[in-house]
């Protein structure tokens, strides 16, 4: 099941814009998510979706835009 919108809502909850206004191509910085907020987002995704990311997947350099977050999170969700 595609849970993109649900993930976008979680991204929005730590950003300064609403889920409807976020595009997959938007950089996290451009929607108000700096390096500290990025970690807050990871924690929120884990808590709200009941998943745990591997350390190796939490390289900040690999999570630059909303689409990166959606792709990574989808990989952890049950089919």
């Amino acid at each position: 099941m595609d849970r993109t919108f649900e993930i976008m809502q979680i991204i929005a909850s730590v950003s300064i814009v609403s889920a409807e206004d976020i595009c997959l191509e938007d950089t996290l910085a451009s929607i108000g998510i700096d390096s500290l907020k990025k970690v807050e987002l990871i924690v929120a995704l884990e808590d709200m979706l009941d998943i745990t990311f591997e350390d190796a997947d939490l390289d900040p350099a690999k999570l630059t835009c909303a689409g990166d977050v959606v792709d990574l999170t989808q990989r952890y969700l049950p089919e």
């Binding site: 300064i16 910085a29 108000g32 700096d34 500290l36 907020k37 970690v39 807050e40 390289d59 900040p60």
Partner: protein, 286 residues
């Protein structure tokens, strides 16, 4: 007042420790100034940084281990800057750009969280008869408010900035000399500092990653610094790992100590390479 283009991505390659530094760099970059030379005085040894946060228990928002970039810019005649307290927003025709201090309540209401420090400024970027547009560095944002709305958010202090001219070759040479002296004389020992405070550890890394990025940008003007890239990425990962532990309330201090030992070791290696390469380039014994 001069209008300035809004390009929030510009902040991606600007390394600041405060909002005022952010906006000053933004203005210099937008006007094609060679601001990279201003990073010359931004070297602090890792032991000094750790000591500042972990021993002296000082906080990130007021870090003064290196001179503020605006101080360097003013000293070298790049710009003039003045802070004025005035109850109304009144742009001065003698100056080009204006930063406004906004009420903490406005910041909290608009951005959902408090700023790093109470005296947070935004940069005015454009205006017409009835509206003013500003940009905010963190979180990155721009907004257009009516004059009345902005007056309500305004907290009575304004920083005026006037560009005077790009850095001269003579200033660039002086700053290079300063940089070489700093890296030669810095306290760069493998000191063991007990880590008992997760926030202080995180803040030490926050400063370290900014200062080492500045060093990368500064030195890249003179030598190839690709050897630093993996280290810079490592600093980001360590920073995120500490913040993750803090948010999870699972701070593991032995893990932190290991992390810092590794960072200290790599930092010293990086500095040795910089000293060698810069020394070869400029024939100095550093």
């Amino acid at each position: 007042m001069r209008n300035i283009d809004i390009d929030l991505d510009r902040f991606n390659s600007l390394y600041s420790l405060s909002c005022v530094e952010s906006y000053m760099l933004y203005i210099l970059d937008a006007n094609q100034y060679h601001f990279q030379h201003l990073y010359a005085q931004s070297y602090a040894g890792i032991a000094e940084i750790l000591q500042y946060f972990l021993w002296d228990k000082k906080v990130y928002a007021y870090y003064d281990g290196v001179p503020r970039l605006q101080r360097t810019a003013i000293a070298h005649g790049v710009l003039a800057m003045q802070t004025v307290q005035c109850s109304d927003i009144c742009t001065d025709p003698d100056y080009d750009f204006f930063m406004l201090k906004l009420h903490p309540e406005y910041i909290k209401k608009t951005y959902g969280a408090a700023a790093w420090r109470d005296d947070h400024y935004v940069l005015l970027t454009g205006y017409d008869d009835r509206h003013r547009t500003y940009i905010n560095d963190s979180p990155r944002d721009y907004r257009t408010l009516t004059c009345g709305e902005l007056e309500q958010a305004y907290a009575g202090s304004m920083i005026k900035l006037k560009l005077l001219g790009d850095l001269s070759d003579r200033s660039a040479d002086l700053l290079l000399e300063d940089f070489l002296t700093r890296i030669r004389d810095s306290l760069n020992t493998d000191v063991i500092i007990p880590i008992e405070d997760g926030i202080a550890a995180r803040d030490a890394l926050a400063v370290l990653r900014i200062l080492r990025r500045r060093m990368y940008v500064y030195c890249t003007q003179y030598i190839s610094c690709d050897f630093m890239k993996a280290y810079l990425r490592k600093l980001d990962k360590c920073f995120s790992a500490i913040e993750y532990m803090r948010l999870r309330r699972s701070m593991d201090f032995s893990k932190l100590a290991e992390m810092f030992q590794m960072v200290q070791h790599q930092d010293m290696e990086i500095l040795d390479i910089i000293k060698r390469k810069m020394g070869e380039q400029y024939g100095q014994n550093i």
